[in-house]
């Protein structure tokens, strides 16, 4: 049992770190849940892909580096430590791509994956329907056989990223006569900009169009866009949702970076007498480390050839609740600034605990300097790189994450226990499949 990385893994870490240091935008991108931000994040995907950093775990032929799971986790740590943008392609990369690797044809992989890796085609998921949420197998949208393909009808909803995405994937009822609800479903990919598809964006709780309703009215999909065998969609989709809950949707790197920011903010601005808040900061640090080690443990099992099954539900419950908790703690630390909302990224001023204000530098950097400073005691902090030195009349503000980074993250985190299978469904899975408790009425 060890936590040592091989020389090759360390070299990979250094390569990723160097690339990110040179490429991560110094100005934060606008929220990816806005039209402008979506476009900016799409462009960032292209920049990542140009140097093969968008899908490091994929085979080289599709734009990846053939990296193993340990390297992938290392990359994710570096990615978020560098303050790099959120991944607008995440639905495609972490949900559709694993499905294509397991169930797709070589033709589908060759056609779908490279443009996904480059951010040229961004994918939305189309699972839920107005009457089919946790009980997904009761879905009603249909796929009807037609010459050379299928004709889709029905309504999908809560489709993340669909407001600006290019294509979507989901389940449709292809055999209404099947004896059980989860039989007779087919897994299909379809364009969002084609005749018969109406996309109606839905404002999430802060109003940003983070998801959408999809109305499908005689939408033709060719046979080549069916994944796996018709009628086998449920089995295939469950494999995908396993990925979603499991190792690939939320890497520990993201939470380690968040906990590090919180700890830094606490050390710079926390009231040492507020031990109740200090304890919550400690729990945020502990939780990120727990999630990291839990993931290393699963990665080791995975590398040893073990399958990660229902355990992914433990993961999903943990990270989704952790994410809310760490943001709540940050907002409580911010006090009055904890309600500041940044629709387009923070570009204003923040106040100190005594109510005075600090000007925000125009070119706030998103980089993290992880080198230990002389003396070694202060934690890593965001500092402008030498080529982006602040104006000489500007005094660096207190080393502190802009409040709006926390409020944006908080709003995003609130959805965690709901999507990707609600935490109630996850707890049922944990109780029945891991603890062996009897099935009962939901």
């Amino acid at each position: 049992m060890d936590l040592e990385f091989s020389a090759a893994q360390e070299e990979f870490r250094q390569k990723a770190r160097a690339w990110l240091a040179a490429h991560v935008p110094s100005d934060p991108l606008p929220s990816l849940e806005t039209e402008e931000g979506f476009a900016a994040h799409r462009a960032w995907e292209g920049e990542l892909a140009a140097d093969r950093w968008s899908v490091v775990s994929w085979p080289e032929e599709y734009g990846g580096r053939g990296a193993g799971i340990v390297e992938w986790l290392v990359f994710e740590e570096e990615y978020y430590a560098a303050g790099a943008p959120g991944r607008v392609s995440q639905n495609g990369i972490s949900l559709l791509a694993p499905t294509l690797f397991d169930f797709g044809t070589p033709e589908q992989r060759a056609r779908v994956l490279p443009p996904m890796a480059r951010g040229e085609v961004i994918w939305a998921q189309a699972w839920s329907e107005p009457e089919a949420g946790s009980d997904l197998a009761s879905l009603r949208s249909t796929a009807r056989r037609a010459p050379g393909g299928w004709v889709l009808n029905g309504q999908k909803t809560w489709s993340s990223r669909a407001a600006f995405a290019d294509r979507a994937f989901g389940l449709f009822r292809s055999d209404p006569a099947a004896d059980r609800p989860h039989r007779g479903l087919t897994y299909l990919m379809f364009p969002l900009d084609t005749a018969g598809v109406t996309v109606r964006p839905i404002g999430r709780i802060d109003g940003k169009p983070a998801f959408a309703e999809l109305f499908l009215d005689d939408v033709f999909v060719p046979d080549e866009d069916v994944i796996g065998e018709p009628g086998q969609g449920w089995r295939i989709a469950m494999a995908t949702t396993g990925e979603e809950r499991g190792l690939t949707l939320r890497s520990p790197g993201r939470f380690l970076a968040t906990a590090d920011r919180l700890l830094r903010d606490w050390r710079a601005h926390g009231d040492p007498a507020d031990t109740a808040l200090r304890d919550r900061v400690a729990d945020a640090v502990i939780g990120a480390r727990a999630y990291q080690l839990f993931t290393w443990s699963n990665a080791s099992r995975f590398e040893a050839g073990e399958a990660i099954g229902a355990e992914s539900s433990l993961n999903k419950v943990f990270w989704s609740e952790y994410d809310i908790g760490v943001h709540e703690t940050a907002l409580d630390l911010l006090g009055a600034d904890g309600e500041l909302r940044g629709a387009e990224g923070f570009a204003g001023e923040w106040s100190t605990p005594d109510g005075t204000e600090h000007a925000e530098p125009a070119d706030r950097t998103g980089t993290t300097d992880t080198a230990a400073p002389p003396g070694g005691t202060p934690p890593p902090c965001r500092t402008p790189p030498p080529d982006r030195a602040p104006p000489t009349d500007w005094t660096p503000p207190p080393d502190r994450t802009p409040p709006t980074d926390w409020t944006e993250g908080y709003v995003f985190a609130l959805a965690g226990p709901i999507y990707a299978g609600t935490n109630e469904i996850q707890r049922d899975i944990i109780a029945e499949r891991l603890l062996g408790l009897p099935k009962g009425r939901r």
């Binding site: 049992m1 060890d2 893994q9 200090r278």
Partner: protein, 334 residues
């Protein structure tokens, strides 16, 4: 990077589990609570023969260590079986004496380690900033008092006081006695002892948590109300699911702390140890609350064996300093 127990470590856990299952440890814990130490001493000898105390000592003193990962493996099993006695304390004392020897003070180690390592006797101790009481001093041959810049062999102990956990008794150590180390060596060795105490307690606590969960799962599967096993009701299922989430995310912290104690630099190791202490304290206490609630009134009786683990969970949460103190270490960075 291979963050997984190897076959040998798993076999070690299985063999301890098998030995302790056959040994009727609940009866030994109840006897210990009544002041009858014979069964507990016999267990200690078997645990020593299995090599558990040797894990904290170097080869020069008949040890096989330092082996924090294997120590964690062992203490999960000791907790799972509610084994009574100053086991954590003996390991911490072994680590303290071994550290003193490494710092050029070999005599106390030469005198006490062979017996402690072999399981022939127990030690107990108090450490600076980690509470005033020594566990089970009346059942210990070696009484170490660390603090005020020295390590003493205490000449005795005050009258033991009862713990919430009847199988634990707490006593202050008497002043005076032989000073075996002082200055930097004493402080360093006491710090090392606290590291091992925290690790072993976190692991023991985790084992207590799994025992509580396993017993509660078995109970709710069998207990029928409204014509169905109560374990089929969502309110019950979800509570137990949360217990498993808590334990499964505390577990890697315990083994991560063990690896850090073995391989890492000291301040990183101390953050990890503190994290493990806090996380097991919370998760295992949560497991105890859920276990009590889901057993109903039965769990609230002294007669039912569940109480052995319920009360130990509470006691271990506060052992070696409260959770706030350990959280403070996390935020301070070690």
């Amino acid at each position: 990077m291979r963050f997984l127990l190897d076959d040998e470590q798993r076999d070690f856990a299985r063999s301890l589990d098998g030995m302790l299952t056959a040994a009727d440890t609940p009866a030994a814990a109840r006897a210990w609570a009544a002041g009858e130490h014979a069964a507990g001493f016999a267990l200690r000898q078997r645990i020593g023969a299995a090599g558990v105390f040797a894990l904290a000592a170097p080869e020069a003193y008949e040890g096989v260590g330092p082996s924090p990962v294997e120590t964690a493996v062992a203490f999960v099993e000791l907790g799972r079986h509610a084994v009574p006695g100053p086991l954590v304390e003996t390991v911490a004392a072994v680590a303290l004496l071994a550290r003193l020897a490494a710092l050029g003070v070999p005599e106390p180690a030469e005198r006490s380690l062979p017996t402690l390592v072999g399981g022939g006797a127990s030690a107990t101790l108090t450490l600076p900033g980690a509470g005033p009481y020594a566990l089970d001093a009346d059942a210990s041959a070696v009484l170490l008092a660390a603090g005020d810049g020295e390590v003493r062999l205490a000449p005795g102990h005050a009258e033991p006081r009862a713990s919430l956990d009847p199988a634990r008794r707490l006593a202050r150590l008497l002043a005076g006695g032989e000073v075996v180390a002082s200055g930097d060596a004493a402080a360093d060795a006491a710090g090392r002892a606290l590291d091992w105490a925290a690790l072993a307690t976190a692991a023991q606590s985790l084992g207590v948590g799994y025992a509580l969960l396993d017993r509660t799962v078995a109970y709710v599967r069998g207990r029928t109300q409204f014509g169905a096993p109560v374990g089929s009701f969502q309110a019950v299922k979800h509570r137990l699911a949360d217990v498993l989430v808590g334990l499964e995310f505390a577990r890697p912290l315990v083994f991560g702390a063990a690896v850090s104690l073995r391989d890492g630099d000291q301040s990183a190791a101390r953050v990890d140890l503190a994290a493990a202490k806090v996380a097991t304290g919370e998760a295992v206490y949560g497991a105890a609350r859920a276990a009590l609630q889901l057993h109903g009134a039965l769990g609230y009786t002294a007669e039912y064996d569940l109480s052995l683990w319920l009360l130990k969970a509470r006691a271990l949460r506060g052992a070696w300093g409260g959770v706030g103190r350990w959280r403070e270490r996390v935020v301070a960075g070690g």
